[in-house]
Assembly symmetry: none
Homo-oligomer: 253 residues x 2
DNA sequence: CGTGCCGATGCCCGTTCATGCCTGATTGTG
DNA sequence: CACAATCAGGCATGAACGGGCATCGGCACG
């Protein structure tokens, strides 16, 4: 097995499980720990992994708190299905706004190489993922970067979204319901989401069913601002019916 | 069997099995390893295969950024020393502008955790690296993202730098000399560098000695715009003297 | 039919690369 | 505060590499 293959595999493992450790990798690949360390160092320098004592964690995580691995793995299946279903809703070409969020990030990572899109995002991990994509013209929205979500917020971000007009915005929300609309815990982030929502002709919301009927501190839109909701089949058909009556098309992936 | 036929077949084998190795191919086609290496090199240059030590892997199977990885390995030692020396020039607290560039990125990665800085950057890799640094308030400069350098450029970036004032800017250049000043191959990038330079009270340039006396297409400043140049000892003391007489302090790490 | 050119191939040899091993320093944990 | 795990750097080794040169074989042209 060649070094780059091994590194690629390490990267995959890291992204899948949220972290890797030197000793298990050495055993797994039948090489010494030194070699693994060299691999991790290379991946670290390339910015794909973050080296920590004893192992490494994937770079560009939405947050790196201990709770993350668990949160990531929670509903991972649903998120993947949602991301895949969302891909089908993307135009083959045109302009796209991508909100910050792990499901949106998964979708972004799966955009096929032959696409020809203009993408605007204020999410650092998504931008990092798409910067190499040959078919994508990427525009980064600046601003203060929130540690927790790695998303740009505040004046620069708001102004940037105020100056553009996109075909589709793919948004994420921490909570959604007919009564309380779209909510998220942070005010600054909500303001940016609202600006992104306003800048697009068509709004697609990606949210797994655990977000349904949740409400958080900051509201950034009403449900009927959303043209299409993509969620998983944890949402009951009755709830989906309620949402559709409120004017939002619902896809249960 | 003619060379193009053989290469075609090598490509097919590589795509089928995910990898090929020099020795087996040599045996398979009854030619020497040198010939296979030449074939692989040709396919690599054509972008169809990715060459690795001992063999090759079909292109697209790895998602490394070859350009970035390659630049990382060039003059890695010098760059590390320069980056380390540059750290000593950073204020303990205050506002910092970080330009795009591998040496600057290394410096950024080495900023101690106990620092308390406000950092502004238009470089995506650097931002990704600093986004979860607890002591750093990070501000991202938006704009169109260039594939080659992963840096934001154009109107949004220029305006953002026009609106701020920082204590120190850490810049990179592809070429520097007393006569031709600071140059880089891309016009858009040069404009952003100039804006960053203008926005800072003190300008530190990181450039290894191979950049000395180089000149590239786009000029973004004169040498005396630079307060401090940090380079390696590949720069002769005489050349350093010339630079100092031109008004720039020189550190040879 | 001969001849000279040129690309492809093979061979040689100094250099680089990937890996493993060792040692001393560093770090995290109990 | 001490112990065990982990890390970084230096060194050794065998495989792989790359450039220079010689050879071979086809092809065009006279």
């Amino acid at each position: 097995m060649y070094a780059p293959e091994r590194q690629q595999e390490i990267l995959r493992l890291a992204r899948d499980s949220g972290r890797v450790d030197v000793v298990s990798l050495a055993e797994e690949f039948q090489v010494t720990a030194e070699t693994i360390r060299r691999d991790l160092k290379a991946l670290d320098r390339a910015g794909l992994l973050r080296r920590v004592h004893g192992g490494a964690i994937p770079a560009g995580r939405l947050d790196f708190e201990p709770g993350l691995a668990e949160r990531e793995s929670t509903a991972a299946d649903e998120k993947d299905r949602i991301a895949k279903a969302a891909l089908a809703e993307l135009p083959a070409e045109g302009t796209l706004i991508l909100d910050a969020g792990s499901t949106v990030a998964r979708m972004a990572a799966a955009i096929p190489p032959e696409s020809s899109l203009t993408v605007v995002t204020h999410s650092l991990p998504i931008a990092a993922r798409l910067a190499d994509h040959p078919g994508i013209q990427l525009h980064l929205v600046g601003g203060r970067v929130r540690h927790r979500t790695h998303a740009a917020v505040d004046a620069w971000a708001l102004r940037a979204y105020g100056e553009i007009r996109a075909d589709v915005a793919v948004l994420a929300a921490n909570g959604f319901s007919v009564e309380h609309g779209l909510t998220t815990p942070d005010l600054a982030e909500a303001a940016v989401k609202r600006a992104a929502l306003t800048a697009a002709r068509r709004v697609v919301l990606l949210a797994d069913s655990s977000k349904y009927a949740q409400e958080h501190f900051a509201r950034f839109g009403a449900l009927d601002d959303v043209d299409l909701l993509i969620t998983d089949n944890g949402l009951t058909p009755e709830d989906a019916g309620d949402l559709e009556r409120a004017g939002t098309e619902v896809v249960r992936a």
